[in-house]
Symmetry: C2
Subunit: 225 residues, 2 copies
């Protein structure tokens, strides 16, 4: 670091992050929402988020807000910035620019509750959410688009599931994210052809015929960008 100073024309704005955190619950794609405890928009639902602190990286701020505004314990399996919302009038408190992030939380991330400045935190339907504060509906819509894009040519669906899972479960994740039904035979053919799955040898019992369990093949990573 040199001793150079910020030039005077450097506009100072509030820098925030908002997080659209997704997880699967009961076959539905859910998004993590908090109920605001402060003005503006007190008692309205909103995406978790908050101001970036000095010296804090953007993704660190996103992780911190997830942990302090909700009681999510597990680390996100995936976290990426996807768009920056900076429209002048988007926040009544002044010029606040928000770098929006998309997070995928692993299976088992169930119990959440409010913390910090929030009254409550809940997993709610991502495709049919309640009315949201600020421009958070626009942020959520864009997050869903990005998630659907990623599904196709990264393998983000695996991040929603535990280590071992069945093909019908994986298909359920795809269907919940795309919000439409898929053909079972085509889905299996396509997924198995990618050879990103290895059968674990075990089977999962329940009602009906037991399903083969799979796990992520070695050397398979989530694609970037």
């Amino acid at each position: 670091m040199t001793g150079l100073a910020l030039p005077p024309q450097a506009t100072q704005v509030g820098l925030a992050v908002d997080i659209a955190a997704f997880a699967m619950h009961g076959g539905e794609l859910n998004v993590l929402l908090v109920q605001r405890g402060q003005l503006p928009h007190a008692r309205d639902w909103a995406l978790p988020g908050g101001f970036v602190q000095p010296g804090e990286e953007l993704h660190e701020a996103a992780l911190r807000e997830l942990r302090t505004e909700t009681t999510v314990q597990l680390e996100p399996r995936h976290l990426e910035q996807f768009y920056t919302f900076g429209e002048v009038g988007r926040d009544p408190r002044g010029r606040i620019v928000s770098v929006a992030h998309l997070a995928v939380l692993p299976h088992g991330t169930v119990s959440v509750s409010g913390g910090g400045h929030t009254l409550e935190a809940e997993w709610l339907s991502a495709h049919r959410p309640p009315r949201l504060a600020f421009d958070h509906q626009a942020i959520l819509t864009r997050a869903l688009l990005r998630l659907q894009l990623r599904l196709e040519y990264a393998n983000l669906a695996l991040e929603f599931l535990p280590d071992t899972f069945t093909l019908p479960e994986l298909q359920g994740v795809y269907e919940a994210i795309l919000d439409r039904q898929l053909d079972k035979r085509n889905f299996r053919k396509r997924l198995l052809a990618q050879s990103i799955l290895t059968p674990s040898g075990e089977r999962r019992s329940g009602v009906g015929r037991p399903a083969q369990l799979y796990r992520r093949a070695k050397n398979v990573r989530v694609a970037a960008l």
Copy 2:
């Protein structure tokens, strides 16, 4: 707007925009670079950019910086934000977060020269640029990736050309952006099948056989996101 104030924990950071502006010159994809006139990185090449002003939208700031740092007259045919660079140490002057934009300038945007705080502005090779200041090489690389993505399923290539153009010229734009050769027959088949082009009836003479001129079909718009 209400009288609500920014909460005290709202970190103030410098908010900037940087622009990767592309155009075709002599069959090569060029990017608009400026030579810095100030520290840090004085005399180094950099992407045009600067601080967002109070009450100014992000895309307005990008347009303003293009106009003041260079003498580009024409309006960009396409302008989109593509990533926000906010790493703590990316600028020695302090915490500066930059919303990076991708711009496409139309054909005929040739003469540029420095203005404002820049010594010089030039169109230089986008795929083989000189050494760049700050993290601008990373920004440029990401801009190129985004441009290549857009090429496929928006029709951004048309924005690089004048109203009427020949198919070999359009193919040249594709090849310059993708930085590889394409097959002439396959290219024509694919483009004509999209029915986004209509023959203008005229032909362009020169050396060799005259080429059919095309123009963008009515009702064809550049796709969003």
